[in-house]
């Protein structure tokens, strides 16, 4: 594949604790050569997740994803060819993953990187064994899902998933991860606060959804700071959970300690990989 979707970023008010949550529940790992003063970076062996300390002027929550490409210059050229109004910028060199950041036609921001050209750091520069529980998908709610799907297919050669869920959304894959582009509609937010467009949730492939839920309960008992946010309480909570459950890629639904939605699936990945 020309591109691998191998980076996810959360901005967090509790970045150190949230990183430990992902390590404890999903077995994600840090790099040998990590940088303790900067963002916490954890990995499933293929996809890295930066948990970034929230800075002034930033939101706390699921923030963006990133793609590692075979040829950065070609990727940037393709972005401009797809639509000359789309922009990409070089990033400061302290970043462990991003060499460039760009955005799709709906202004969903993503990072770009290239393997083996010397700037990747932390988990992105090391070979780590794949963890049993690993990332399966990242979902973005966006106003023009079809146009964005065309963008990711044309620029990054992501392939449509060989499965029709019949819900009007778009599912693209790099052979490992799935990028779900969910059509944003105001009507979806009836009975709750409307959420503007942007990253919606992440997914993990696990050996057993029930076992993860059991582990979460056990972890909360061991360390009460690891409790995830309650889902489905009250009429509005139920409406939010029902909307989350509309994603066909997962069957279990939890959050991290700050409320970032996590979808759990036991289904094999696009290449047939299972969590084991």
């Amino acid at each position: 594949m020309f591109a691998k979707l191998n980076h996810i970023a959360i901005a967090s008010d509790y970045y150190a604790m949230n990183a430990r949550f992902y390590e404890a529940l999903f077995g994600l790992r840090t790099a040998k050569n990590y940088r303790p003063a900067r963002a916490a970076v954890v990995s499933d062996g293929q996809v890295g997740m930066n948990i970034i300390p929230r800075r002034e002027g930033r939101c706390s929550g699921l923030d963006h994803f990133g793609l590692e490409v075979e040829d950065l210059d070609l990727a940037v050229e393709r972005i401009r060819k797809f639509d000359p109004t789309l922009e990409a910028i070089k990033r400061p060199p302290v970043r462990p993953f991003a060499a460039y950041s760009g955005h799709d036609p709906d202004c969903n921001v993503f990072d770009l990187s290239q393997r083996n050209i010397g700037f990747q750091k932390d988990v992105y520069a090391e070979s780590l064994e794949r963890t049993k529980r690993h990332f399966s998908h990242v979902a973005v709610r966006t106003r023009h899902a079809e146009r964005c799907a065309e963008f990711y297919a044309e620029v990054f050669e992501l392939k449509p998933l060989n499965k029709n869920y019949g819900n009007g959304n778009y599912y693209l894959t790099d052979g490992n991860m799935i990028l779900a582009l969910i059509q944003w509609k105001m009507a979806d937010f009836a009975d709750m606060d409307p959420q503007r467009t942007g990253p919606d949730h992440i997914g993990f492939r696990v050996e057993s959804v029930d076992k993860v839920l059991e582990d979460l309960e056990d972890l909360t008992g061991q360390n009460p700071l690891f409790h995830s946010r309650p889902l489905g309480y009250g009429m509005e909570g139920k409406a939010r959970l029902d909307l989350f459950k509309q994603c066909p890629l997962g069957t279990g639904h939890i959050t991290d300690i700050e409320g970032v939605y996590i979808d759990l699936t036991e289904e094999p990945g696009p290449s047939g990989v299972v969590a084991s």
């Binding site: 910028i89 105001m186 409307p194 959420q195």
Partner: protein
Amino acid sequence: MASKINHVAIMSGNYALESKFYESMFGMRNSPKARPSRAVSIGDGYVGMNINPRRAGRPARLDHFGIQVDDLQATLAKMEKKYPNCEYLKRPSSRPFAAISTHDPDGNVFDLTEAKGGNMKDVYTHNDWQQDRTICHVGIRTLHPEACAEFYMDIFGLQPSNLPIEGAYGVTDGRMSVILLPWSIKKYANTGIVGPGMDYIGFKVENLEKFKADVQEIADNNPLIAPSPVSTGPEGQARLEMLQASSLGSWHIADPDGVLLDIVS
């Protein structure tokens, strides 16, 4: 003036603490009719600020603003006719301000309420006093600021305001303004990138030096409600310079969650 921009909302994992910050630093007031189990609603005598507890699946941030209109049905009818792509949604009756939520042509979500609609609660039922420190504007970074400004003027009768900010379009109800700033990823070259959306809140204070002294004294007495740091390191400096170039104030701070504030004297 038919419409008033009189609602701002923050989502926060520390919502009660955030409220103490705005009450202490700016003299915003809670309501005797407050509902303690729900969001905090505080006011400055004109604009009400909701600090909503962050829910699962939602980010913590400066989230949205709201407009009060004289006739909600007439406003929606006009919007449907002129901007059919802007969807709207009726809100649950528990909300203190919003009767309807909708969005502008760029997808910036905002709330609508009716002056005598009967749905308003908490501070919004009596937000009519005078105080020295008040919310005077919000800044929104958006892809098409000119088109959005036309939308707000056309649908809500807001007036254009002259702004000394390159590429910005301001709309005002005479007291409170929305500043629509051009969003470009290139502006974030030396700092963390934030997508389009709400960027900062502007406050007018009676005397900047007095306000600075008050902030220092309050933070000294209670460090939990001290402003969070801005301009630390080269990336913080770049973010501050970006804010300075796109706002009206002469001092820039952040609330304990990091929401940016533009202080005008």
